[in-house]
Assembly symmetry: C2
Homo-oligomer: 143 residues x 2
DNA sequence: ATCTTATTGAGACGATTTATCAATTTCAAT
DNA sequence: ATTGAAATTGATAAATCGTCTCAATAAGAT
């Protein structure tokens, strides 16, 4: 049984529903993508540079956007680049960031997420992912 | 007394501290900016196109970035563009963002903020600001 | 008023992403 | 297995967004 059978089925379902085709390139990109928490198109391009067949950068972009439409990925614009987040790893997108030394601490808090759901429901939204960043000074930099 | 006296003072304080100058352009852009919840550089460029003096797009970008450094604005990347959020009266700015149509709903939730403080304290951080974005589908786009 | 320094506007530039298009591949129907 | 219509690919051109450059101008201290 392949490593990412569940996600591969989800992709195939989406392809079938939209008269799209299952290609070797899409399989390669899916495999690489599911091993990451998040990745940019450029990073993936270099990661897969040596694979056969050779993958063009345009194909990487097209395929990552396809994953977004299929519900496997979510694009997030950070700085000048676009990060493609792996939805199946979701839940760990929260960060404490020290504005002085740049230190980043990851955390997860179920209570906050419950409250987020409440806010979303109250506004008619269905949340697929979120991003929470707390900026401040870490213990060492406060002195 | 000018409409945005408080914010203008905050800007002047920042300018003074960094040997920067208070120009007619910066005043115009500040006035326009404070009347918005959030705006892109391009939108502001068109809004101010008829003003005297004429404002170059580069100046708009430079000035909005200056506002970020001065703590009056916060940049947020959505879609292909950068939104500059007005954080001058609200100390924070939380968003529900529809990933389909781009609709943005603003909200605030004291309980979430209390929990954020707890997380920060537990990790030795002192928070100065934060960013919370919930991504998903709005009611209209869910069908 | 003068002088130093920051700022401006216009356009060049750089980085990222999308559009174009001929050649190739998929896949359903023979 | 072969065929053939339709989707996909890779290379590159083009578009988009934001920053950089630089000569001219404006701010503000002396």
């Amino acid at each position: 049984m392949p490593k990412h059978a569940k996600e591969m089925e989800a992709l195939k379902a989406h392809l079938g529903k939209h008269q799209l085709k299952y290609t070797r390139q899409r399989e390669l990109i899916l495999d690489a993508f599911l091993q990451q928490e998040h990745i940019t198109a450029e990073e993936m391009y270099h990661q897969l540079a040596k694979k056969d067949p050779h993958l063009g950068l345009a194909t990487i972009y097209r395929t990552l956007n396809l994953f977004c439409e299929a519900g496997l990925a979510q694009a997030r614009h950070f700085g000048t680049q676009t990060q493609y987040d792996n939805i199946s790893h979701k839940g760990h997108h929260d960060h404490l960031i020290c504005t002085d030394c740049g230190k980043i601490v990851e955390f997860e808090n179920c209570e906050i997420e419950k409250l987020q759901e409440e806010v979303a429901t109250r506004n008619g939204f269905t949340i697929s992912t979120h991003r929470l960043e707390l900026y401040g000074l870490c213990g060492r930099c406060r002195h």
